[in-house]
Amino acid sequence: MEGGPEKGRVPRQKMPEQPPLVRARNFNEVPLGYSPEMALLEAGRCLQCKKPTCMTGCPVGVKIPEFVKLIREGEFVAAARKVKETNALPAVCGRVCPQEVQCEGSCVLAKKGEPVAIGHLERFCADYERRTDQVCLPVKAAANGRKVAVVGCGPAGLTVAGDLILRGYQVTIFEALHKPGGVLVYGIPEFRLPKEIVDSEIRYLQSLGVELRPNMVVGTSLTVKELMGEMGYDAVFIGVGAGLPQFMGIHGEELCGVYSANEYLTRANLLKSYRFPRYDTPLARGRNVAVVGGGNVAMDSVRTALRLGADNAFIVYRRSIEEMPARREEVHHAQQEGVQFKLLTNPVEVIGDERGWVKALKCIRMELGEPDAKGRRKPVPVKGSWFDLPVDIVVIAIGTNANPLLTSSMQELKLNEHGYIVTDPEGRTSVPGVYAGGDIVTGSATVIQAMGAGRRAANAIHKDLGGEAGPPEACSGTLQP
């Protein structure tokens, strides 16, 4: 096969997208997915390397050449199952992984600027399997009589639940919100990750026997001690994310019209404010919206603002576009849709009117100074360069911290100086029988990293409870009706 006639000449297949000015006003998904023909062409570009560097870039080691080969052979469902051996949520990861710094960034073809579109292919085969109703229920190990409680239903918790249910454990997920999915449902918007996909993953886990208990705030409704004590769980996994919003501490942040990104996105996504008044939760629709920050969360917020009808949606970021932590693709999408970037700009005050509403964001221009310890050039204010950006909504997306609600209810749990849970590399906390992973251990990271942590913790739980080592039989292909 090496060096077939077409090899290298087929360009990377671009995924079709809704046209920018259309999509900027609706909440439907932006990239439309590959057709089977495009998937075949794209899969054909993979060199099937003997030493696939792409795999080293994937935090969970998806068997990339193998699943791509299956796509090339037209075995789309088999390809999806191959991915699922190491990644339980391919339809999600194919959409939201920062592939450019992970798998695709490590593909040998990346050097020439056109890596194999691994994420698109992953999404394609997972969507194909789901849409054609070929998702299989794998064979579960016989019940082993052990009970595990999972706290938090984000990617980390979902992974633990999925891994352990297959190994014969009885698994219950306790989730504080009324809907499961974590950031996947309350944070990442519909136009980037349709909720139908998350719902179908949850249904899949439920059909395997995972019990879901929404509206349970562990730390107040229940404590970990009670879970391990009278409720009889043999182990508890904590995957509660890092959901405490940071504010800037500048004057005027309490004004009406100032949102944390968590609030803004939760209203829009989880509570479906964009369908107000049919859904009861309101969200202010500004004509001019400023979003402060430069990460994925900021991009999601600003693109949501556009879709809610803003005439002008600004990103206010204190460094330049190169330093933005958001994925390239998201920045690019935002630009196409008409988001205006106020770079090298730092807010210093939110100015209000007499009714207590935001009227403007006072900013100062910045320039990049000397590189700091991490090599990032530090922004410094340009003297006297203040200006007012007239806006009626300000969304603050400058990051989150660890939420102390659960951890403060467990004095014996070791935390680091920022309040994150300290674990060993396999997810064991300082309390025997209690494991943790995802954003509550690492701070805000990525979906796939949270899933990787979940998998390691599931393995550790299995090992510590005396189970056989080795990965679960994820999707053996053996169908159960």
Binding site: A176, L177, H178, P214, N215, M216, V217, T220, S221, L222, G243, L244, P245, F247, E253, E254, L255, C256, G257, Y259, S260, N262, E263, T266, R267, L271, K272, F276, P277, R278, Y279, D280, T281, P282, A284, R355, G356, W357, N403, P404, L405
Partner: protein
């Protein structure tokens, strides 16, 4: 004023005076905070009181005995700080008449002398009277129209009480305006004053920040740091502003849903 008894055995076992729940009437509903007024751990029930002011409380009011609620979360918030203070004067208005009941009882059980004042526009709007009368060492009613008790408001009666005798703590729950006025009434005497704020809320777990208030120059989240705060330290103007954020939307939603309620067969595509 509506009274609702919710079957929630786990919650009834856990709840402490001063805590609240987040309730969603149905899947499209808002998540609204509601104080726990009373509970019965052995029966596994929780009692709440609410006033129909907008869509969410309207939806709650439309429920019949035996109906389910889409979501009930809790207990949330810090429990009331209970201790032996000495003499405590408590004021309740609106849903706060219900909300102070369990706190009053707990304070009484700890050996405090408890004076309870309740207010309403008119006599027929007062409720929970027997329970409060039984708990309090002194129970005073105030009505705006003078139809029973003293003609006036809690803020007026409080001034009289603290003039009359030495009081060690004041505690108020009711609408924001009432809590502010009462806090102002105790400020001159430097009487330690606690109120339970009713800010806007969403998750109730510290995740969104909508409930933030400025207390003594610091930003606090009412759902996890409160709802109980020092009434003399609160930036009341800020609280009023933030509460008014969705006035227009609330009105629109109320009209929309009242109309829909009249046409129950209306099938709008989901």
């Amino acid at each position: 004023m509506h009274r609702m008894v919710i079957e929630a055995p786990l919650l009834a076992k856990k709840v402490q005076p001063g805590q609240f729940l987040i309730i969603m009437a149905d899947e499209e509903g808002e998540r609204i905070p509601i104080s726990v007024a009373d509970w019965d751990a052995s029966a596994g029930t929780i009692t709440i009181y609410f006033l129909e002011v907008g869509v969410s409380t309207m939806k709650l009011a439309q429920k019949n005995a035996g109906d389910g609620l889409y979501a009930v979360v809790g207990p949330l918030g810090r429990p009331a700080k209970l201790a032996k203070y000495g003499t405590v004067v408590m004021g309740g208005g609106c849903y706060g008449i219900g909300a102070i009941t369990s706190i009053a009882r707990a304070l009484k059980e700890m050996g405090n002398r408890v004076i309870v004042i309740t207010e309403a526009r008119s006599k027929y709007l007062l409720y929970n009277r027997e329970a409060l009368r039984a708990i309090a060492d002194e129970y005073i009613e105030a009505t705006s129209d003078g139809s029973t008790g003293i003609k006036g408001k809690v803020q007026d009666v409080v001034q009289y009480v603290i003039y009359r005798e030495k009081v060690d703590l004041a505690y108020f729950i009711g609408c924001t305006f009432m809590m502010m006025n009462c806090s102002n009434a105790t400020k001159g005497k430097g009487l330690r004053t606690l109120v339970a704020l009713n800010t806007l809320m969403l998750d109730g777990t510290g995740m969104c920040g909508v409930c933030r208030v400025n207390v003594g120059g610091q930003t606090k989240f009412a759902c996890v740091d409160g709802p109980e705060f020092d009434g003399h330290q609160i930036d009341w103007l800020g609280v009023f502003h933030r509460k008014s954020m969705y006035l227009q939307e609330e009105l629109l939603a109320y009209q929309y849903h009242s109309c829909r309620a009249l046409r129950p067969t209306d099938q709008e595509g989901k």
